[in-house]
Amino acid sequence: MTDTSAIIAAMQAEQDEASGQEHGLNAEEWQRLVTRLGRRPNLVELGIYSVMWSEHCSYKSSRRHLSKFPTQNEHVIQGPGENAGVIDIGDGQAAIFKMESHNHPSYIEPYQGAATGVGGILRDVFTMGARPIALVNALRFGDPSHPKTRSLVAGVVAGIGGYGNCVGVPTVAGETEFHSGYNGNILVNAMAVGLADQDKIFYARGATPGNPIFYVGSKTGRDGIHGATMASAEFSEGDEDNRPTVQVGDPFTEKLLIEACLELMATDAIQAIQDMGAAGLTSSSVEMADSGGENGEGIGVEMDLDKVPQRETGMSAYEIMLSESQERMLMVLYPDKIDVAKKVFEKYDLDAEVIGMTTESGRMVLKQFGETVCDIPVAPLAEDAPNYDRPWVEPKKRAPLDLASIPEPEDYGEVLLKLMSCPDMASKRWIWEQYDRHVMGDTVDSSQSMGNAAIVRIHGTKKALAITSDCTPRYVAADPYEGGKQVVAEAYRNLSAVGAKPIAITDNLNFGNPENPETMGYIVKAIEGMAEACRTLDFPVVSGNVSLYNETDGIAIPPTPVVGGVGLIEDLDKVATLKGAQPGDVLIAIADGDPTPGLGASLYLREILGREEGPPPLVNLEKEKGVADFTRSLVEAGLVNAVHDVSDGGYICAATEICLANGVGAKLTFPATGSLLGYFVEHQGSYMVAVSPTQADDVIARAQAAGIYAGKQGDFGGDAIVLNEDVINLPLSRLREAHEGWLPNYMNAVD
């Protein structure tokens, strides 16, 4: 028998500042809470305030800086502030997408942490009425030699696959990198893209008083309590004991939830909807109440927690409100539609209960066992959350690194082999072969072709979305402003390369402790650099997530602001990928024509010389746009057989990647004025294209007319990579073995 009176007494007990501190509220925040409330909170109220004011839910350290991002262009239907961003893709359809991190849980329990990261981001997208059509993930792990890295990779990959494969949404692209800076804090960022009709988009906002609050999905258990708070603090050694706060995912239930929600959304039953993600029932009900009302003036909610479907007996109001059990949704229904909704969820054998009503009071009132256990105004929870202007210092500029001061290697072939097989460049086949890339039957291009961006057809049409995720933490660490620009520009470049018109991005800003002014400086400058690129490229941010406190025992991760970019392809007959280069094709470099930068912050410098120094290559945003437009025009005109952007490892690695993807060699003739090291320089705003010999002159003439540099760099053919006769002469098979071999050898090694 549950002792209800004991639970109620505990729930209603007045709390003090020490208790506030245990909940992660500092003295100032505690004072703020007591002032807003006009009294001290009880336990339930304190729990609710503490999660709503956590970094994870309130963005209290980043909010004022995030406002620097442009969030609109002619395609944007919904920018940041809802569950996900929405863009117009023509024909009455919309793409809905967002990226989100699950870093802390994935370090503690990699399989479930990564799996529930995928589940959560899917819910953000289908909550809005979209059928999810693609998943992407950006992963960063510690040094491969670190004792935990291998098991973390295995667990995270299995978790992503286990969830995405079962739910039946293809995982089409991603990136995986390794660096000792992530030894204590791995990054698991997952992005979902969905497709909806513009007249069937659902929002968290707009609920009006007097309507039933409907709970659907899995039962509520004790898992994940305080997950949002955990994601708002640093780790220290031994925090793996937090395992019970990591949620457990059930992709089967998620699949049913997707189908049931989309089926219900086809009727006119739902007034507002919000998934239960971080801080579960608390944040979902607060967000719907706060953004409720016909003009967004806010409404109240009253819920009877005894009606919440529960997995265990004896759960307290505190636990029910803070549980992060997965696969749950909260809706506000129109009153006459309860039966319609119940019927849909019955079909899928999912729990569905009316647990309360929206009210006019502007208050959140919660009852358990007939007693009131919470009665607080809604507005302060969301709107009065702290909004800090954290002190920050300008990151130090790195000294220039003169290319001439870098010694030439004895054997360029060995260098190329080493770069192509280094952990960041090596093939990630071992990972993406564990992901179903083809379910839903619309994957035109995925990780399978090692390409620039995935291409996913819009079902039943000749249109497609191009999708990419990008970040080069080396550059951001070297210069957050320039590195921030580069992150956005690279996404723009990857989408343009396949022939897509870039439309918008979602961002996932991963940094260390914002209370450290140096870390805060990186956050501020990276955001400002990204914002400048977004403005110049007309490539706004429509959704995103901030993950701070990625820091263990005072050591922060490298600054890692990841973006997920989405572009539109109007005609699938006019795309180009890494595949398609034929023997005899000419290799042409297309570039902005700016002088070659140095090797600062390059992969060459780090992998070959073991040095992480120097400024990053600069992005010329105006020219970036011009080169991208030009390259896209070549793709549209059908003039290129294969295309690749120049990034890690410079021109030579880009050319090698095209060769490996096509199984055809190349004879490269780089004019050796000065050091050949220039071909390892990571020149921005550049592409390499394979063009049939009869069209090469046309391509170069078009470039000249457009004021863009284009130059022949070699010819495809044979089965080796040959540079300037004998500088490099490597059989493709040897390069392939090195490139493909590293990850499986690493994962299968026994030590």
Binding site: G161, G168, F252, R457
Partner: protein
């Protein structure tokens, strides 16, 4: 040709099957919900699609094999109707006993998704006649439990009677004797792990799956 696709909770290749059948036959297949749906009279082909019916809980296909719709599926088989089970559909057909053997966890223990070369063991079937003259086709696989097992006597019989339809050229999952697909004694029920419905053109899967639907059109 009249077709139907069974939909279980957790099926996720049902739409892929629907698209492939529509493309092949020019008509919409009937989508049959496992709980209360009906396989229409006169249906020529029933497709049991891939996915994770019941989340693969208990054992892949085990719970779906006990779902209400299975009685109708067995009746359809008894009437000599065509049944194509792909991936989870193959697992379900084995669990119902409509096909011999079982699918175990892949030898590598990992999920595997990749284009796979399949040797055509017989073009003398209602499912493969269009492949006559071809030694192999490439069709995507995507599964965690595709490791086909049966006792030696069963395997000998399947091989002896020509009921092994496809074999893997590079066995991706440890299947006995590289078996990728088998057919029933009457030649009407085929189960296979690779996904022909994901190889019908216009996407990364290629076009080698089209032959299967063309063969069925010719047979029905």
């Amino acid at each position: 040709m009249k077709t139907a696709v069974i939909v279980f909770p957790g099926s996720n290749c049902d739409r892929d099957a629907e698209v492939a059948l529509r493309q092949a036959t020019g008509q919409d297949p009937t989508m049959v919900w496992h709980k209360d749906g009906t396989i229409p009279d006169g249906t020529d082909l029933v497709m049991v699609p891939g996915g994770f019916s019941y989340g693969d809980y208990l054992r892949c296909g085990a719970m779906a094999a006990n779902s209400p719709v299975i009685a109708q599926l067995k009746d359809h088989a008894a009437r000599g109707g065509y049944i194509l089970g792909v991936c989870n559909g193959f697992q379900i057909l084995c669990e119902t006993g409509l096909l011999p053997g079982a699918l175990m966890r892949n030898m590598s223990l990992d999920f595997v998704c990749r284009p796979e070369r399949l040797k055509i063991e017989t073009a003398n079937s209602a499912f493969t006649s269009a492949y006559a003259g071809r030694s192999d086709i490439t069709v995507p696989i995507a599964h965690h439990d595709g490791n086909y097992v049966a006792d030696d006597a069963t395997l000998d019989r399947l091989e002896g009677e020509g009921h092994v339809v496809f074999r893997y050229v590079d066995n991706p999952n440890g299947s006995a004797r590289n078996i990728a697909g088998v057919i029933s004694e009457n030649g009407r029920v085929l189960g296979m792990m690779p996904h022909p419905e994901r190889a019908i053109g216009g996407h990364e899967g290629g076009t080698d799956g089209l032959g299967m639907f063309e063969s069925l059109m010719a047979a029905a």
